[in-house]
C-alpha cells in the first residue's frame, strides 16, 4: 500500500515537472535562490558564429558571477528569427535577447516588450559617438535607440582574379561605373565553360532587394519620398533596373533560384563566376575555397562612392526589471572593443566603433585578410535602409520587380510601375 502511494506521488511529481519547468521559464523574474539572474539569449548563429558567441557567453558568465546567460535556447537560425520571435511575443513567452536583422527591427520594435536602450547606450562604456554612423542609424527607430548593434557589414564586389587574367581583362578599380561593370560582366561570361560574369539572388527576398538601394541612392532616390506617401525611387529605380536588364540581356548574370542566395556563392567559389556583390561575412568561405580573389568598392553612376550597410542587432525584451538589467549589461559588454574585436575576427563582421578598428588584433586581422579594408573603408559612404514599418511591403514589391526584370519577363519601366502601385498602397495604411 505505502509503496503504491509512493509510486503514485512519484508519477504525479514526474507529470508535473515539465509544467513547473515551463512556468519557471517566463513567468518568474529570473532571479534564482542564490541571487543569480538567468538571461535567455537567442543568437541564431551557426558554425563559426555560434562558436564565437558561445565562447563570449562563457567568458561573460565567468566574469559576471551574478548573471548567467543561457545561449542554448531558441534553436532557431537568424533567417527564421523574425517569425520565431513574433510567435514568442504573441504567446507571451519570449527570450531576453534575440538577434534581429536590421531590416526587421522596425516591425519588432512596435512591440511594447522591446526595451528602450536610448539612455543605456548613450551612457554606456562604448562612447555613442565612436560608433559608425550606419550603426547608430540602424538601431534607431523614431529617434529612440531600440536595440544594440550586433554585426556590421557593407556591400562591395569580390572578383575572381584568375578568371580576369584568363579573359585578359583588367582588374576593376575603385571609381568604376555600372556601365563598366556590365561591360566587364559581359566579357567574362563564357557559356561554353559555364562561367558567369556576375550573380544576383532571384527569389525576390531582402537579399535580392538590398543590393539595389545603393544604385538608387547614388542616383538621388530614396526608399520613401519626403512626403511619406510615395516611394522615393520612381524614376531612379527604372534607371537602376535598366542596368539589371542589360545584364539579363547579355546573359551575363546568374540568377540564383534558391532561397538564401547560397547557390550564387557556391558558383563563385567553384570558380564559375567572375564578380559577386557580397559582404565581409563571405570572405572566410571564399578564402577557404581557395579562390584567388580581391575586393573592389561597388560601381556607381555618379562617381561618388556609396554602399549599403545592414547592421544586425541584439534586441532586448522586457521580462521584468532584474532580467532586462542583466540583458542590457550583457549587450553593452558585447559592444566593448575587446569583445567586439573577438566577435569580428570569427564572425566576419566589421568593427562597430572606431575604437575597435584601432585595436591591434583587428589591425593585424585586417592586414592579413585581403580586401577586408575595402569593406571597412566603404563604411564611410554607407547608408542604411530606413527603419520604416511599411518597408517589408516595399521590399516585397521591389523584389518582384527586380526578379521580373532579371528573368526578362517585364521592362524596367513596367516592373517599377507595378512596384510603385503596390508600395504606395502599403504606405497609405495608417500605422
Amino acid at each position: 500500500m505505502t509503496s503504491s502511494i509512493a509510486r503514485r506521488r512519484l508519477l504525479a511529481g514526474a507529470a508535473a515537472a515539465p509544467f513547473l519547468a515551463a512556468c519557471g521559464g517566463g513567468a518568474s523574474d529570473g532571479v534564482g535562490s542564490d541571487g543569480t539572474v538567468t538571461v535567455e539569449l537567442w543568437h541564431g548563429q551557426s558554425d563559426t558564429g555560434r562558436k564565437a558567441v558561445e565562447a563570449l557567453v562563457a567568458e561573460f558568465n565567468r566574469t559576471h558571477p551574478r548573471i548567467r546567460v543561457d545561449s542554448a535556447g531558441g534553436g532557431v537560425l537568424s533567417d527564421a528569427m523574425l517569425q520565431k520571435v513574433t510567435a514568442a511575443l504573441a504567446s507571451g513567452s519570449y527570450p531576453d535577447i534575440a538577434y534581429i536583422f536590421g531590416s526587421d527591427l522596425a516591425s519588432i520594435a512596435r512591440s511594447p516588450r522591446v526595451v528602450d536602450l536610448t539612455s543605456a547606450l548613450h551612457a554606456g562604456p562604448t562612447p555613442w559617438r565612436s560608433l559608425w554612423a550606419p550603426v547608430r542609424e540602424g538601431v534607431t527607430v523614431n529617434g529612440r535607440v531600440r536595440a544594440a548593434p550586433a554585426l556590421l557589414d557593407s556591400l562591395a564586389v569580390v572578383y575572381n582574379r584568375k578568371l580576369f587574367r584568363q579573359a585578359g581583362v583588367d582588374f576593376p578599380r575603385a571609381g568604376w561605373t555600372w556601365d563598366e561593370f556590365a561591360d566587364t560582366a559581359r566579357r567574362l561570361t563564357a557559356p561554353g565553360r559555364g562561367v558567369f560574369g556576375t550573380g544576383w539572388p532571384g527569389t525576390g527576398d531582402e537579399d535580392t532587394v538590398w543590393r539595389l538601394w545603393p544604385m538608387i541612392w547614388d542616383l538621388g532616390g530614396d526608399v520613401v519620398a519626403a512626403d511619406g506617401k510615395h516611394i522615393g525611387f520612381a524614376d531612379q529605380g527604372v534607371r537602376a533596373l535598366e542596368t539589371l536588364a542589360r545584364l539579363s540581356r547579355d546573359k551575363s548574370v546568374y540568377v540564383d533560384p534558391k532561397p538564401s542566395g547560397e547557390q550564387m556563392y557556391q558558383v563563385f567559389m567553384a570558380g564559375r563566376m567572375a564578380m559577386v556583390g557580397t559582404g565581409p561575412w563571405q570572405l572566410p568561405d571564399i578564402i577557404g575555397a581557395g579562390v584567388d580573389y580581391d575586393v573592389v568598392p561597388l560601381p556607381t553612376y555618379s562617381g561618388r562612392p556609396v554602399t549599403i550597410s545592414g547592421p544586425d542587432t541584439w534586441t532586448v525584451f522586457d521580462n521584468g526589471s532584474a532580467r532586462s538589467r542583466a540583458a542590457v549589461e550583457f549587450v553593452r559588454w558585447m559592444m566593448r572593443p575587446a569583445q567586439d574585436a573577438r566577435w569580428d575576427l570569427s564572425a566576419g563582421s566589421l568593427p562597430l566603433s572606431s575604437a575597435t578598428a584601432d585595436r591591434p588584433e583587428w589591425r593585424l586581422h585586417s592586414r592579413r585578410t585581403r580586401g577586408l579594408d575595402v569593406f571597412t573603408e566603404a563604411l564611410g559612404s554607407a547608408r542604411v535602409r530606413p527603419v520604416h514599418a511599411a518597408y517589408p511591403q516595399i521590399s516585397q514589391a521591389l523584389g518582384e520587380a527586380i526578379v521580373s526584370v532579371l528573368l526578362g519577363k517585364d521592362s524596367p519601366a513596367g516592373a517599377l510601375r507595378r512596384c510603385a502601385q503596390r508600395s504606395d498602397a502599403a504606405l497609405l495604411i495608417p500605422r
Partner: protein
C-alpha cells in the same frame, strides 16, 4: 426481504442496506472515472492545447487587426472583405486550385496503375513495392532540396540530360510558367507511393470468385477492371480522393524550401500566403482570415464527399 426460496448454489449474501450499496457503487464509479481520466488526460490536454484552442484563437484573430506584437483591435469582417478584394489572394487561390486539380487525379490514376502492376506474383515484388513507397517517406523538405539541385537551371542534371537530347535548357523552378507544374511533378513523385500502398491493400479485397466467374463468362481484363475491380475499390478511392485533396490544398513545406512562392508569385499557394501575411507583413489577423477561408473550403469538400458516399450506398443495393 424476498420470500422466494433461495438458490442453494449461491452463497448467502450479507444483507447490505441499499444506500450503502449505492454509495459503494458511486465510489467505485468515481474511482473508475478518475482512473479513466488519468489515462486519457494527457491526450486530452494535448488535443485541447494544440488543436482546439489554437483553432478558436485564430478564429477570434481573424476578426481583429493584429500584428501579434502590439495590442490589436476588433475589426469584425473587414479582414474577409479585404480578402475578397486582394489580387494577391486571388492568385494564391488560383494557384492552389490548379495544383489540386492536377495533383489529385494524377496521383489517384498513377497510384491505381502502379498498384495493379505490382499486384501480381513476380520475383522481387517486395523490393519493387518498397521502392515505390520510399519517396513517400522522404520529408518534403528533403525532396525540395533534392529537386532544387536536379532542376538547377545552370548546373542541374535535368538540363544536362536535355542538352544531350538536343533540347534547349529550361528555366525550371525559376521560370514562372513552369514552376507550379514542376512542383506538381515533385509532389507526385512522393504522393503516388501513398496511393499505391492503399490501393494494394484494397486490391486484396477484390472477391476472387467474382473475377473467376467473369473470366469463365469470357470477360477480358478491361471488363473485369471496369465491372469488378473498380466498384470494389470505390470506398477506398473516395477516401484517397478526400485525403489527397486535403493534402494538396494544404501544401506548404515543399514550396517554402524550393521557390518561396516565387518566381513572381507563380507558386504562392494559400497556406504560403497565410504565412506571408502573418510573419512577413505583420498582418496576422488578415492571415488568419485567409486560413479560415481555406478551412471552410476543406470542410465543404469533406461534407460533399460524405453526401456523395451516402447517395451511393443507398443506390448500390438497387443496382446490384
Amino acid at each position: 426481504m424476498s420470500t422466494l426460496p433461495r438458490a442453494i448454489t449461491l452463497a448467502p449474501q450479507a444483507a447490505v442496506p441499499p444506500a450503502a450499496a449505492r454509495r459503494a457503487a458511486r465510489r467505485r464509479a468515481r474511482r473508475e472515472t478518475a482512473t479513466a481520466w488519468g489515462f486519457i488526460g494527457p491526450a486530452v490536454v494535448v488535443i485541447l492545447g494544440l488543436g482546439i484552442v489554437p483553432v478558436l484563437w485564430s478564429l477570434l484573430l481573424s476578426f481583429r487587426a493584429d500584428d501579434l506584437v502590439t495590442p490589436g483591435r476588433w475589426v469584425g469582417l473587414d479582414n474577409y472583405r479585404a480578402l475578397a478584394e486582394d489580387p494577391g489572394f486571388h492568385t494564391a487561390v488560383r494557384n492552389t486550385l490548379l495544383y489540386t486539380a492536377l495533383y489529385v487525379p494524377l496521383s489517384l490514376v498513377g497510384g491505381l496503375a502502379l498498384a495493379l502492376a505490382l499486384n501480381r506474383r513476380l520475383r522481387l515484388i517486395g523490393l519493387y513495392r518498397t521502392l515505390v513507397f520510399i519517396p513517400f517517406v522522404v520529408s518534403a523538405t528533403a525532396q525540395g532540396v533534392l529537386f532544387s539541385f536536379i532542376l538547377d537551371p545552370e548546373f542541374g542534371v535535368a538540363n544536362s540530360l536535355l542538352h544531350q537530347l538536343g533540347i534547349s535548357p529550361q528555366g525550371f523552378l525559376s521560370d514562372p510558367d513552369q514552376a507550379i507544374y514542376l512542383l506538381v511533378l515533385i509532389s507526385l513523385w512522393s504522393g503516388v507511393g501513398f496511393c499505391v500502398v492503399v490501393y494494394l491493400a484494397a486490391l486484396q479485397d477484390v472477391p476472387p470468385e467474382l473475377v473467376e466467374s467473369a473470366r469463365i463468362d469470357g470477360a477480358g481484363r478491361a471488363l473485369i477492371l471496369r465491372h469488378i475491380v473498380l466498384p470494389t475499390l470505390t470506398p477506398v478511392t473516395v477516401f484517397l480522393l478526400l485525403w489527397q485533396v486535403i493534402t494538396a490544398l494544404q501544401v506548404f513545406d515543399l514550396i517554402y524550401v524550393t521557390t518561396k512562392g516565387g518566381p513572381l508569385g507563380s507558386t504562392t499557394v494559400v497556406v504560403y500566403f497565410v504565412w506571408q501575411q502573418a510573419f512577413q507583413t505583420f498582418t496576422a489577423g488578415y492571415g488568419a482570415a485567409a486560413a479560415y477561408v481555406l478551412a471552410v473550403a476543406l470542410m465543404v469538400v469533406g461534407a460533399a464527399l460524405r453526401v456523395v458516399r451516402r447517395r451511393q450506398s443507398r443506390t448500390e443495393g438497387v443496382v446490384r
